[in-house]
């Protein structure tokens, strides 16, 4: 089930299905044979779940990828185990005067009591001289000056151990800790949680098992995802508006958008960030099997109101190319506050789409000097404005209407964009020009078949 960039969301799926199965069995209570069957089925289901050693239900914490951070509102308690010691940290609350940390050998004991360490003023504690290989459980309680208890922190367990990391040329061997996921390992060793697929693919595992060594490729072992047999290509989806009521050419129905995301999930597409894609373009990185990039153009309010929650739910990263004149211009457009909030979400990355969305090709009646000035202004000013309003330095550009010429691409390169995007249909191998990247528009009238037909992720016709 778990194959996307982010983790945490889909982990709930099997549980939910199981619960449904058990509830269904309740109906058979009246007739004997059915009851027995249902009981057998329930037992079977119950017994099967722990029988998969590759799927531990790890309590997920803040490090669980792009997604996790935005959603967790609960008080956080994290542990970091090392050789004979455990570092416990938790989210600080301003009203708290002192914390009491409880620890115990079992989960139950820690929940109800355990050994108390009182009078902690900082939101961290280092528990030393522990027995390696043994599990320790922690719980925290905050108290205000008046002695009123504050905060509900979960009970978290961890195991001190001589966790090992060995470096070899080209890769690294790591003993995963109990709470580790591919995303946390990728964040720690590859400096990017969105690269979790690289570890998963190289080890050919579906999940991380604590204390079973995992190999982490330190650099791309297949740059450009090019082999003698063929090469991976990345389709980039370009959405504009999304509507709850009516579809039009440039506006996809919300239910349809959801269906399309579900299609990606069901068919094991892996949505990657634009940055990963550009690394791949520059032959510095590779992409996972069946990689897709999702982009939105213009900056409509629906991106924030409809697309963002769906993307969060699926854990899919996306990019919003915003043209700055649209922002704050009306009811249907995003406000700057929303742009900032989108950028902060960590799910959607905000990038440039010029200032006024004019066609960047030379228009009739335009003189060369005026045209050139307009181009520079379009490409530079929007970037400056975006920087001043959100603090974000954008590095990618989408041409309005996908229109460009040599001067436009040369200027995009000169101004310092790393890549620029057209709306020519197609899937990108690494060897497309950085300033003429193909993107497939998703139209409101497209059915799922049309949508699926654009998702070509492998090709071999140039090397074969």
């Amino acid at each position: 089930m778990r194959f996307s960039v982010a983790t945490g969301t889909d982990a709930g799926f099997p549980e939910r299905e199981m619960a449904r199965g058990e509830r269904g069995s309740g109906r058979g209570r009246l007739c004997g044979p059915l009851l027995v069957w249902a009981l057998g089925l329930a037992f079977l289901l119950g017994a099967c779940a722990p029988a998969e050693p590759e799927k531990p239900e790890i309590p997920r914490k803040g490090i669980s990828g792009i997604l996790g951070r935005a959603e967790i509102k609960q008080d956080r308690l994290t542990t970091w185990a090392e050789d004979s010691r455990i570092l416990v940290t938790w989210s600080h609350k301003t009203e708290v005067a002192s914390y009491t940390l409880f620890w115990a050998d079992t989960h139950e004991e820690a929940e109800s009591g355990g050994t108390a360490i009182e009078g902690l003023t900082k939101a961290r504690f280092e528990h030393k001289e522990l027995e390696n290989g043994k599990t320790y459980y922690y719980r925290v309680q905050g108290f205000t000056k008046a002695g009123k208890p504050v905060g509900t922190y979960p009970v978290v367990g961890d195991i001190p151990y001589q966790y090992e990391t060995r470096r070899f040329p080209g890769f690294m061997a790591v003993t995963p800790r109990v709470h580790d996921t591919f995303a946390s390992l990728a964040e720690r060793y590859l400096k990017d949680p969105a690269k979790d697929w690289m570890i998963r693919e190289f080890n050919d595992l579906t999940s991380v098992t604590p204390f079973r060594v995992v190999m982490i490729p330190l650099e791309s072992y297949e740059p450009g995802s090019l082999t003698r047999e063929g090469y991976r290509t990345v389709p980039i989806l370009a959405y504009h508006n999304i509507s709850r009521i009516k579809a039009s050419r440039m506006s996809v129905l919300a239910t349809e958008f959801e269906r399309q995301m579900a299609y990606l999930r069901q068919n094991r597409f892996q949505v990657i960030t634009l940055r990963q894609f550009v690394d791949f373009l520059e032959f510095k990185g590779q992409v996972p099997e069946k990689a897709v990039v999702i982009t939105f153009d213009d900056g409509w309010r629906s991106t924030y109101e409809i697309a963002l929650p769906v993307l969060k739910r699926y854990g899919y990263p996306a990019t919003l190319f915003v043209y700055t004149d649209l922002v704050g211009s009306g009811r249907k457009a995003l406000s700057w506050a929303q742009v900032r909030s989108i950028e902060k979400s960590g799910v959607i990355d905000v990038q440039c789409h010029t200032k006024s969305h004019r066609n960047l090709q030379m228009q009739p009646g335009e003189d060369m000097t005026g045209y050139f000035k307009a181009l520079v202004q379009e490409m530079k000013d929007s970037r400056e404005l975006l920087r001043s309003k959100t603090g974000k330095n954008c590095t990618y550009l989408a041409y309005p209407y996908g229109a460009y010429n040599h001067l436009v691409t040369a200027l995009a390169e000169e101004i310092g964009y790393r890549a620029a995007f057209t709306v020519r249909r197609g899937s990108n191998p690494f060897f497309v020009s950085n300033y003429r990247v193909l993107r497939s528009l998703v139209f409101g009238e497209d059915d799922l078949e049309t949508f699926a037909a654009g998702l070509m992720t492998y090709d071999d016709k140039v090397v074969k």
Partner: protein, 533 residues
């Protein structure tokens, strides 16, 4: 019921007779009971299986610990199973011929099992295989470049990259030189100013702001000859300026009508203002499988290894008109010269073998048995003693005399790379490229000629002037290139782009034979399609 009476009590119960019979039959031997017992048995087996910690080497594990809903077991050896798993994966990669990942996975095996013979053998085998194949495909690529099969060359460079991901040359070929680029390099010559460059490159001094902007220069900036500037390709932008471009064109291409004769002319023309940046023609179809738009490659501007082979087809008619022996061995006698090379090498023979400079450079690298990447960075090797330089120059001189100008240039350049002050080598480079340019002119390949002339120093003979006039001629070919691009799009059922290309053809050459017809056709088809939809 007769059976109930005859048999023993047990059998009677079994058959459902007697007072307890029906109960036994329904509950003990009934369907439900069998299922229940079966399920319990199944569960028992399952719990046994789950209770045992791991599939492999259960004995080596300590007892599992419960951590929330997670059962954690700490194996005695955390890296257990790594070797087996990665051996299995690596073998799979070997089978699928995914060499790069196979190599890294075998390296994992070797790291955890240093004495493993299979891993060591496979690593060595894959590494030598990759090296060999990369060299082979690089050679093929260079051969295709030589024949100007740019599509095939692209393919071979891609294959090279598949075997050797660190080959900078193949990468820059695939990503830049044989790909669409919008910035071209311009090497400054004596007397250049931003205004003059704009005049040369765009035939329009008013476009000086482009030169200024892209190089951060003032209008009257002083430029050092030999430095390289980046200027944007303006072909398609200028085309969309009908009035101005007409003027520009008439200025630029005076010898339009007698095209063939102009090309056949071997003696250099009267020197016109020297120009470097030629506006290259648009290529017919991209080598990339994707139908990306055709765009001009950068005109070569004398950067060392990044010579830019343009992707435009040479006009076949002209090529036929000038039969040239292909093999170097057919070269007619060249005047042998004294061993120390003179300042002015002998004039080039009129009929000479054809080779692109780049190809020569490539082959020089491959022939020396060097790994592919070395070519681009060969200067990083050991110091070149003066005697070695001497040998190199002599070798280059001999090649020059044999009429193998491309090889000679490459050889001399490699000497220069290690000893930039070597005037003999410099002279040889110049004269070789000049001769090569002449040879390409005779063959009718103007792009190659322009390239060759631009590799020679600007003030060497009249190379710059010849380049300018050739560039002018090339402008005319552009229409043809657009036409072919249009056909490609048309065949790929991309009507919009086909129409766009053909419109450009008509704009460039209103007297084109095919384009107006095809354009009308395509438009009609498009209208029909729109109707149907």
């Amino acid at each position: 019921m007769s059976s109930c009476t005859r048999n023993s009590r047990a059998v009677r119960y079994w058959k459902g007779c007697g007072p307890l019979g029906p109960w036994v039959k329904r509950w003990v031997l009934g369907f439900q009971t069998i299922v229940l017992v079966g399920a319990m048995l199944f569960l028992a087996v399952l719990f046994l299986a789950v209770g045992a910690p791991a599939p492999a080497g259960a004995s080596s594990h300590t007892k599992g610990q419960k951590l929330g809903s997670l059962r954690v077991t700490i194996p005695k050896d955390t890296s257990q199973g790594v070797v087996q798993r990665f051996r299995r994966l690596a073998r799979g990669d070997d089978k699928k011929r995914l060499w790069q990942r196979a190599l890294l996975r075998w390296k994992v095996v070797a790291a955890y099992a240093p004495k493993d013979k299979e891993a060591a053998n496979r690593i060595e085998a894959i590494e030598t295989w990759q090296e060999k194949q990369a060299a082979k495909h690089l050679a093929i690529a260079s051969a295709h470049l030589k024949k100007k099969n740019y599509g095939q060359a692209f393919k071979s460079f891609l294959r090279t990259l598949a075997y050797d991901g660190k080959n900078h040359m193949a990468l820059s070929m695939v990503k830049f030189d044989l790909n669409a680029r919008s910035l071209q390099a311009y090497r400054v010559v004596k007397g250049d100013s931003p205004v003059r460059i704009a005049k040369k490159a765009y035939n329009d001094a008013d476009l000086v702001f482009l030169v200024q902007y892209f190089n951060n220069l003032k209008r009257n900036a002083r430029l050092t000859p030999g430095t390289t500037l980046n200027i944007p390709v303006m072909a398609d932008v200028l085309v969309s300026r009908p009035a101005q471009v007409a003027v520009a064109k008439s200025k630029r291409t005076p010898p339009r009508a007698p095209r063939a004769t102009a090309q056949a002319a071997t003696p250099p023309r009267a020197p016109s203002p020297p120009a470097q940046a030629a506006t290259p023609p648009r290529a017919p179809s991209p080598p990339a499988g994707a139908k990306s738009e055709s765009t001009p490659p950068v005109a070569a501007a004398g950067t060392t290894q990044a010579a830019t082979p343009p992707r435009a087809p040479s006009p076949p008619a002209v090529a036929k008109a000038q039969p040239v022996p292909k093999e170097p061995s057919v070269t007619p006698a060249a005047t042998p010269a004294a061993t120390p090379p003179p300042q002015e090498p002998p004039p080039a023979p009129t009929i000479v073998p054809s080779e692109s400079t780049l190809v020569a450079a490539l082959e020089a690298g491959a022939g020396a048995g060097s790994a592919l990447g070395d070519l681009a960075s060969s200067s990083g090797e050991s110091e070149y003693s003066s005697s070695e330089a001497e040998i190199g120059v002599r070798h280059a001189q001999r090649l020059y005399e044999d009429g193998q100008f491309a090889d000679a240039a490459a050889q001399a350049e490699s000497v220069l790379e290690d000893d930039p002050t070597n005037t003999k080598a410099k002279n040889l480079v110049n004269s070789s490229y000049y001769a090569l340019g002449q040879e390409q002119v005779e063959k009718g390949d103007k792009l190659a000629a322009i390239q060759a002339f631009s590799r020679a120093e600007e003030n060497y003979k009249d190379s710059a002037a010849r380049k300018t006039s050739l560039a002018g001629d090339l402008q005319d070919q552009q229409a043809e290139v657009h036409y072919i691009a249009g056909v490609t799009f048309y065949l790929a059922e991309d009507l919009d782009n086909a129409i766009r290309e053909w419109e450009e053809v008509v704009r460039l050459d209103p007297a084109h034979l095919q384009a107006p017809k095809d354009l009308a056709n395509a438009r009609a088809l498009k209208a029909k399609l729109a109707q149907v939809q």
